[in-house]
C-alpha cells in the first residue's frame, strides 16, 4: 500500500504528524481525531494498516422478515454499510427462512456474543405481543433497535416510517386528480404498520375526499390480504368489483399485483385505474408502467438504526421516544386523472 499521508491529513483536517501517529498506533491522539483519520483512510480507498484492521471485528444481529420483498435487502444493505464504517459486521437472520423463529435467532445471536441487535419488522410489530422477550434483552444490557413497530413497555430505540403520512400522500395525490372511489390494499392487519396505514386511510379519505364518510363505507374500501404480488391481485379484484378507480397499495409488490388484476379485466393502467405503490424498492422505476409510489427512506432509516445501535453500544441510553422518518411521493406512470364516466 502506497499511503499518501498528506492526502489523508488534508481530508481529515489534521497534520501529517497526526496521521502518522494514528497509522503507527502511537499514543497522544484522542478518539475523535483517530476516527477522523481512519475514516479518511477508508474514504480515500487506502487499505488500513493490518494491525488496525484486525481490531475492527464486532458482530451485530440483523433480523429481517425475508429477502424476497426487495425492501428488506435494501434495509440490509443500508445497515451493513453503516455498520461496516465502524467495523461491525451484521449476522443476517431472515425469519421466513426454513421457519426459524425470531426467538431462536435471538438465542443464537446471544450465544455468539453479538454487540447488539437490530430488528426490522419483527415480532415487535405485533402490538399485543408479549414484550418480555425484548424486556429481558434490555435488562441483560443488550443494545436493541427496533424498526417499524412499537411496544411502549420496552426501553429500546424505536425507529419507524410514517405509515399514516404515506397513505395520506397517496390518497391526496389521487384525490387531486379527481378520484373519489379510492381503495386500500394492505397485508394482515395484526401488524402496527398495517394498522397505522389503515387508520391513516380513514383520516386521509375524510380530509381529501369527503369528510362525512362513515366507518362502514370506509371499511368497504379496504382489503387485508398479504404484502405480495398475489395479495395485490386478489385485493385489486375485490376493490375493482366495488367500483374503485384508484388503488393505494401497502407495498410495491402489491401494486404490481394490482396492475396485473386490472389488465386481467381488460382495464388500462393508468387510463382506467390508477395504482399507487409503497416503498419504492429496487427496480420499481423500470416496471410497466413505472410505478407511482410513496418512497420509504430506507437508507436513512438503516443508517439511523445502525447509528442508534452504535450509540447504545458506546453507552448512550435508548432514544426516549419513537423516531419517525417521512415518506416522499414519487409520481411516475401508474397514476392519472380519474376516468370521466
Amino acid at each position: 500500500m502506497q499511503v499518501r499521508l498528506s492526502h489523508i491529513a488534508e481530508r481529515a483536517g489534521v497534520s501529517v504528524a497526526t496521521v502518522s501517529r494514528v497509522l503507527n498506533e502511537k499514543p497522544g491522539v484522542n478518539a475523535a481525531t483517530r476516527r477522523a483519520v481512519l475514516s479518511a483512510v477508508d474514504v480515500l480507498g487506502y487499505e488500513r494498516p493490518s494491525r488496525l484492521r484486525a481490531k475492527v471485528a464486532g458482530l451485530v444481529g440483523l433480523i429481517v422478515p425475508e429477502l424476497a420483498n426487495p425492501i428488506f435487502p435494501k434495509f440490509a444493505e443500508a445497515v451493513s454499510i453503516a455498520l461496516a464504517r465502524h467495523g461491525y459486521t451484521p449476522v443476517l437472520c431472515s425469519v421466513s427462512a426454513g421457519g426459524i423463529h425470531e426467538d431462536a435467532y435471538v438465542r443464537t445471536l446471544r450465544n455468539h456474543g453479538v454487540a447488539g441487535i437490530i430488528f426490522v419488522s419483527g415480532i415487535h410489530a405485533i402490538p399485543d405481543t408479549d414484550p418480555d422477550r425484548y424486556r429481558e434483552l434490555c435488562e441483560a444490557g443488550l443494545p436493541l433497535v427496533l424498526v417499524n413497530g412499537y411496544l411502549s413497555e420496552v426501553d429500546a430505540t424505536f425507529i419507524s416510517y410514517e405509515d399514516a403520512t404515506s397513505v395520506d400522500l397517496a390518497v391526496g395525490h389521487l384525490a387531486q386528480m379527481g378520484h373519489t372511489r379510492i381503495g386500500l390494499a394492505l397485508g394482515q392487519d395484526r401488524y402496527t404498520p398495517t394498522i397505522r396505514k389503515r387508520d391513516g386511510f380513514a383520516r386521509a379519505m375524510r380530509r381529501h375526499v369527503d369528510e362525512s364518510l362513515t366507518d362502514d363505507s370506509l371499511a368497504d374500501l379496504r382489503t387485508f390480504t398479504t404484502y405480495t404480488v398475489e395479495g395485490g391481485t386478489t385485493a385489486a379484484h375485490a376493490l375493482l368489483d366495488r367500483g374503485v378507480t384508484g388503488i393505494v397499495c401497502g407495498s410495491d409488490l402489491m401494486a404490481l399485483g394490482a396492475v396485473r388484476a386490472a389488465r386481467q379485466r381488460g382495464m388500462q393502467v393508468p387510463e382506467q385505474v390508477s395504482v399507487v405503490g409503497s416503498d419504492d424498492s429496487l427496480l420499481i422505476e423500470f416496471t410497466d408502467p413505472p410505478l407511482t409510489t410513496v418512497r420509504q427512506p430506507v437508507t436513512a432509516i438503516g443508517n439511523a438504526a445502525a447509528q442508534a445501535l452504535l450509540d447504545q453500544i458506546a453507552g448512550a441510553p435508548p432514544a426516549p421516544s419513537e423516531l419517525f422518518f417521512r415518506p416522499e411521493l414519487i409520481v411516475r406512470g401508474s397514476s392519472a386523472r380519474a376516468p370521466q364516466d
Copy 2:
C-alpha cells in the same frame, strides 16, 4: 408442541423409542441417527424441544459483492434458507459496503469462529489473484465453498454457473429470429465469469451466425463497462453506433440500461432492437418491456453451496472438480424478429 413421534420415526427411518431418546437427550444414539431424527423434526415442521434448539447455533460466513444487484439478495436468501434447515446462521459480509476488503471480512469471520465460509463472486473470480489467501484457509481446516469463480490451485468446492452456455442460448435465440449483427455488453473483463461469457460469445457467434467471423470483427461487437444500468446504457450506445440489432447483456440491470439507451435514440424495443438480459432476478418479469433473459438457477446454486459446505463441516472432502449449473432461456417481450431493412 404436539409431537407425533410415530410420524417422525417413519420419516427418519428409526424406531419410536429412538426418536424419544433423541428428543429427551438420552444417551445411546449415534450422531448420524440423531441428525436424521432432528432433520425429520424440522422437515415435518415441528418445533424442536427448547433444549435442542438452543444448541443448533453455528455461524457460517457468506461473502457477497453487494446487495444492490438483485441477484445477490437472491443468493443470500437461498443460502440462508438452506443453512437454517441445519441450524446454521449466515454472517453477511457485503464487500462493497464502506470499502471493507474481503480479506478483512475473512479475518473477522475467523475471529468469530465460523464453521465455514461461502464466497459468492469474490476475489476468487479474478483468475490471476494470489491463491494463498484461500489456500491458507484450507490448510487451517476451514471448509470453503467458492461460487462463480475458479482457482485451480485451491482445494475447495467450486460451484459455477455455465456462463458460456448462457451467452450461447441468448445468441442462438436472436440468430433464430434473423439477427446477424449481435452485440455483447459485459462488465469488467478481469473476472472469470466475464471471460467465460466473452469466449462463449465468440463460439456462439461462429456457431449460430457466421463461422468465418474473425477475432477482429468479434472484438468490434463487444464492450466491457460495468454490470449496472449505467454500464448497460453506455455499452448499448456504443454497440448501436456500430449497427447491431440485438444486444446480449451480462446482467439484467445492464439490459434495462440497454433498453433505456435504445429509447433515448428513439428506437423501439423489441421492434427495432432486441435486448436479452442475464440472471432473471427479482421483479424482472414486471419490467417494461418484460425482459427476455437467461435465468441463473440461483436457488439451486445457493442450496448446493450450502449443502457442500455442510458436507465439508461434517468431514467430507471438497468436490474434486468445479460443479456447473445450467441456465434456462426465458423468452419475454424484449426480443423479436430482426428488423427488415
